[in-house]
């Protein structure tokens, strides 16, 4: 009967999509071990009433909503301190996080406070193996291998790669007990002074369900309208190869690959990207890969599920038009 603590991410009072993924994984492991319990932990300001009720249908049995005005912006130090205290109180067998920007910062802090091991950015999690009863699988060497680890101490801790664990559909009939707790984190050394969001409210790369990436084959930043047009037709995020970022055509935040972001969307469309090993490292776990390249021997075709051999400048406008027709 495993007890699982799941950190549920919200920003600005809005639940992240990963909430369903993390709670879904927690529910599956809790039920697999025979009527275990899933405790969701929400941290922020004024969130219990607005967000708490949504978590039962996603798989939580109990919701701990830790609230305080100074918790409205993320603070790694405060969030870690509170979560470690929750873990000490609940004594879970497993603590789960999303491997989002926030989760990647937070999970190792909590693991360090508790002095336990953490498996970061996992793509699979199972019960019944390893010292504490869980085994986690995670990509290493930039996705060129998969490492399976067990945990020497309890609780086991893992962060889950976004888009990999499917969120079960919400069960409206399920409800959770929501406990709103006033949690003053006390003095903080790392208060966030401001959050600066990029002007465009585009979908973020690592959270996107579809990613359209442009490489050096796009010839210059003035042609990015073609990439953006296709992305807009699909509601996709845009990415870039390192060659493009190094040339200054696109910001580094858009780089996909070993020294950029790792993405696992359900559809990845690479345009004018050769498919260097360092690029593949960042996107080869995508569910479906499409390549558009004028060179039939480009290595990207080796990992692509579907390819078009042709000039991106001719193919992209037509493709955008066809997708618009489909969605039309």
């Amino acid at each position: 009967m495993p007890k699982i603590l799941a950190f549920v991410e919200q920003r600005g009072g809005v639940l992240k999509r990963t909430a369903g993924e993390v709670l879904g994984a927690a529910r599956r492991l809790a039920d697999g071990g025979g009527s275990g319990e899933v405790v969701a932990v929400l941290i922020g300001h004024d969130i219990a009433a607005t967000l708490g009720a949504a978590l039962g249908p996603l798989g939580a049995d109990r919701v701990r909503a830790l609230q305080h005005p100074s918790l409205a912006p993320y603070s790694g130090e405060a969030y870690a301190r509170l979560l470690a205290a929750e873990a000490a109180l609940a004594k879970p067998d497993l603590v789960l996080f999303p491997a989002s920007a926030m989760g990647k910062d937070l999970a190792p802090r909590v693991a360090a406070v508790l002095g336990v091991g953490l498996a970061s950015d996992c793509t699979a999690l199972e019960a019944g193996a390893g010292g504490s009863g869980f085994a986690a699988t995670r990509p290493v060497y930039a996705g060129k291998a998969q490492l399976k680890v067990g945990f020497a101490a309890s609780p086991a801790m893992a962060s889950l790669r976004p888009n990999v664990f499917t969120a079960p559909s919400a069960q409206p009939g399920r409800s959770a007990v929501v406990e709103a707790v006033t949690s003053d984190p006390g003095a903080l050394r790392d208060a966030v002074q401001s959050l600066v969001l990029a002007a465009s409210a585009k979908v973020d790369l690592t959270e996107a369900d579809i990613v359209v990436t442009g490489g050096r084959g796009m010839k210059g930043p003035e042609h990015w309208g073609l990439i953006e047009g296709l992305a807009a037709a699909l509601g996709a995020a845009t990415g870039a190869s390192r060659a493009v970022v190094d040339a200054g055509w696109r910001p580094h935040a858009e780089q996909v690959g070993q020294t950029g972001k790792t993405v696992s969307p359900s559809l990845y469309i690479a345009c004018g990207v050769s498919g260097a090993i360092q690029h593949l490292a960042g996107m080869s776990s995508s569910r479906v890969i499409v390549a558009i390249n004028k060179d039939p021997d480009a290595p990207i075709f080796k990992v692509a599920d579907y390819g078009i051999v042709g000039d991106a400048f001719e193919v992209l406008p037509r493709l955008t038009e066809e997708f618009k027709k489909l969605k039309g």
Partner: protein, 251 residues
């Protein structure tokens, strides 16, 4: 002022991964090693801080692990770091707490105002040594930093988050993890490579700690099934859309 930089020796990005006979580790033959790319940003940032302060801060490079990491320390010395400390010993793969406790022990002895690391080592992609390190030292931590300013005993950092960046101010001493975009690492000139050979590199045995993770296995990822070329040129566009809609069902 003293700046410590933690660097790791990792298989270079071109490495074709093969699994060793034990089924738990990388087959080492034929692998060439390099400084983890994010650690280069850490070294560069330390050197910029040093240069901006008229050369007074001392930049000390630390690495824990196999003895061969001396090569990567020399690379950082050739870029301009002042001296190196190599903590020699076997570190269990991907066990962050072992690496961090070795580094923390050395850092406590050394004393520093700032510790710079990479945001991620590109072998275990562990994303956690800096957090364990900060915890062990009782220092603040700012991760995934793309801009850093030091002033009056404080660090003002921009950290990358989804869709933008956060501006965070923390008191020193702090552990800061470096992300691409922070700077452009310099190349070592030949004279500096020669000079680096004479810079001090102290070797110590690392104090080992009980691992918190156990490796159960290392495997190659499942291969992707063969794909197909749907056609040539713009006329293939409708065929692709049809395949994605009806066959792959992703749009």
């Amino acid at each position: 002022m003293r700046i410590a930089v933690c660097i790791k020796r990792v298989p270079d990005t071109e490495t074709k991964v093969r699994i060793a006979a034990d089924g738990k580790s990388l087959e080492p033959s034929g692998v060439s090693y390099d400084l983890s790319p994010y650690d280069e940003y850490a070294v560069e940032e330390a050197l910029r801080i040093k240069d901006a302060a008229g050369g007074t801060p001392e930049v000390v490079v630390l690495s824990a692990g196999v003895g061969d990491a001396a090569t990567q320390i020399r690379k950082a010395l050739a870029m301009g770091a002042d001296r190196g400390i190599l903590l020699k010993g076997d570190l269990p793969f991907s066990d962050a707490s072992s690496a961090a406790s070795a580094l923390a022990g050395a850092l406590k002895e050394l004393g520093a105002d700032l510790c710079l690391t990479g945001k991620q080592a590109i072998d275990d992609d562990g994303l956690q040594v800096p957090a364990y390190l900060a915890q062990a030292l009782g220092w603040t931590l700012v991760s995934v930093v793309t801009k850093l300013e030091l002033k009056d005993g404080k660090a003002l950092a921009h950290r990358q988050v989804e869709g933008g960046h956060e501006v965070v101010e923390v008191p020193l001493p702090a552990v800061i993890t470096c992300q691409k975009g922070l700077n452009t690492p310099r190349f070592a000139s030949l004279p500096n490579i020669m000079k680096a050979k004479k810079k001090p590199l102290e070797e110590k045995a690392l104090a080992s700690a009980a691992p918190r993770l156990t490796v159960l296995g290392l495997a190659l990822p499942p291969g992707r099934k063969a794909g197909r070329i749907v056609g040539q040129g713009p006329d293939a566009a409708p065929l692709l859309v049809k395949a994605l809609h009806e066959e792959a069902k992703v749009v």
